[in-house]
Each structure stands twice: as C-alpha cells, then as structure tokens.
Subunit: 199 residues, 2 copies
Amino acid sequence: MQEISQLHAIFDRTRGYINRFMGIIQPIIDAAQDEHTRLYYHHILEEEEQRMGRLQELIPYLESLAAENKTDKLSDRELSQMLSDINLERFGLHNFREHLELSLYEFQDDATRQVLDGMREKTHEDYLHVKEMMATLSSRFSDVYQADLTDHDEGHDIHQVDHLKASASAPHGVASVIKHSPAPTPAKKGLTVGSLKGK
Amino acid sequence: MQEISQLHAIFDRTRGYINRFMGIIQPIIDAAQDEHTRLYYHHILEEEEQRMGRLQELIPYLESLAAENKTDKLSDRELSQMLSDINLERFGLHNFREHLELSLYEFQDDATRQVLDGMREKTHEDYLHVKEMMATLSSRFSDVYQADLTDHDEGHDIHQVDHLKASASAPHGVASVIKHSPAPTPAKKGLTVGSLKGK
C-alpha cells in the first residue's frame, strides 16, 4: 500500500513543524501581559502537544508497516483502527493550519510571518493530500471501515480569506514587545510545553 | 464494569454542553467585525464539532456495553480500543474547559458568563473524574492497554488562574455589540456549525 509511505512522510514533516511552531509560540506565553493572552497560546500549544503525543505512536507504526510490507497482513480490526487513527490526524492537520493562521495575527516581523505562512501553506497541501488518500482508502476498505470524511471547511468563507494579507494590518500583539531571533531555531524533538518553559 | 455507566453519563452531559456552547458562540462569529475574531471562534467551534462527531459514536457504544453488560466479553483489542477512545475524550474535556475559559473573556453580561462558568466548573470536575477512572482502568487492564496519562496541566500556573475573575475587567469583545438573549436556548442536538450558520 504505497499510501502508507506518503502518509508517513506527511506526519513526519508535521511533527517537525510542531517543534518549530512551539519554539515560535513559547516566548509569547512567557512574555504575555495578561491572562487571556497566556491562556490563548498555552491552549494552542497544549493541543499541539497532544497531537505530538499521538504522532509519536503513529509515525513509527506506519514506518514499520511500510518497511516490512505488513499492511496486507493486518486484521480487519487493525486496518480499521489504522484508518481511524489517520482520519483523526487529518483533522489534526486542519486544526494546525488554523493555529498557524491565528498566529499570523500576532507577529509583525516578516521573517517570522514567512516561516508561519510557509508551514501553513504546506500543512494545507498535506491536509488535502491526506483527505484524498482517506477517500481512496475508505473506498477500498469499505467492508471494514466507514470514514467520516466530513469536511467542516465547506460553506465557510473564513477558509477563503488570505490571512497573511488580513493579518498584515492587524494591531500589534505581544510579539511586538518581545525579542526573538528572526528565524527561530527549531526546538529539539520531543520537548514539551513544560520542558520548554523551564528553559 | 460500573465505570462505563459513569463515563456514559459524563459524555452525554458534555454533548449537551457542546450544543449549548455552540448556541452561545455562533452569534459571535456572525457579528465579528474582523477576520481574526471570525477565525478564532470558528476554529473553536470546529474543534467542538469534531469532538461531537466522535462522541456521537462513542456514547451509543458505551450505552450498549452498559445495557447488555458486554464489557467482559470484549476482546483484548476491543478493550484497548475503547480505553484509547475514552482517553482521547479525556483530552477533549480538558480542551473544552479551556474553550469555555477563553470565551469568558468575550462576554460581559452576567447571565451568559454564569452559563459559561457553570459549564466550565462541571467540565473540570468531569475531566478529573475521567482522568481518575482512566488511571483505575489502565491499571486494571495493564496487560492490554498502556494509557498515556500525561496531565499537561502540571506546572502551568495558568490553570490556577480564576478566569471568571480575570475576565471581569477584560476589554469588551464583539459580544458587547450583538444582541442575544441572556440565557441562550440550547441549540438542537446534532446541529453543525454549517447548519447553525444558515439560520
């Protein structure tokens, strides 16, 4: 099943993006002047931390399936479970794209905005790709798995908005008062909000 | 397994809360004056819509297990899957509590703030209860399931903040310019962001 290798590559990329995103957002939490701002970014980071936890299990699993060509040997229940896990991460990619879009409204410096928007663009592509693969796989294995392929995007104008453009004239957020390197160094893999906070 | 009935009651309650929350938040999206505000609440509602989709499958499943006393007959894999699904909804309750806390910063009228804070308080209790039950269940079934019982709350001062108090003096949000009934009528079950939007 060639899709497994492609899915593995996508989830491995987004895992790297989570670490990079955490490195950009943690300073905002540390510098926040009010509880609302702190809670807001803390919440976003916590959701990404939960996603990271799931990916840390799913990525090696997909890797072992691809390497040992074991997909054909999965039981119906294992196959169904794998497709369900992948579908959950389809939503994860969608939500991450929105976390990136929301963050664009915080940063005014072009370097950080370009990093965020680059991740946003690739994440959107990855989301669409996973969605497409899920449709193929759930059609192929319709006897064991019925995917909820709901696309909550439909009918929402908000997804047609160019948030890079819309955020360009947004009021300066807390990011404008903190010092950060223009091209943030990706955080080490596996760091948590807690461990980053202690730095 | 008496925990199943308790978990069913908790997830059934939070399903009702999601509908009530959607009824409160949708007018904010409709009245939003800028793309950031629209994206922000749209994003929160979309995540709750995803959670609703999962609960719509989990709740009847738990109900059938409890009614027919079938838990003992589950295979190891089915048991492991059920515990994994419950653990995901533990995070779901945690994230919902934060969505409620974040929303407190939007509303200035006491009636809506009390509704939000009431749901927040009960959701926090439910979260702690599910966490406790997960610890018990994953210890009892440690041969088939290893729960990730990470509590991302630890070490985060933000969770010690009384957001009802902190939000009382927050700047007025878009909620201050829209008309809404003081005690919002719960939305009908099963409504989506899309269908609410069309109203």
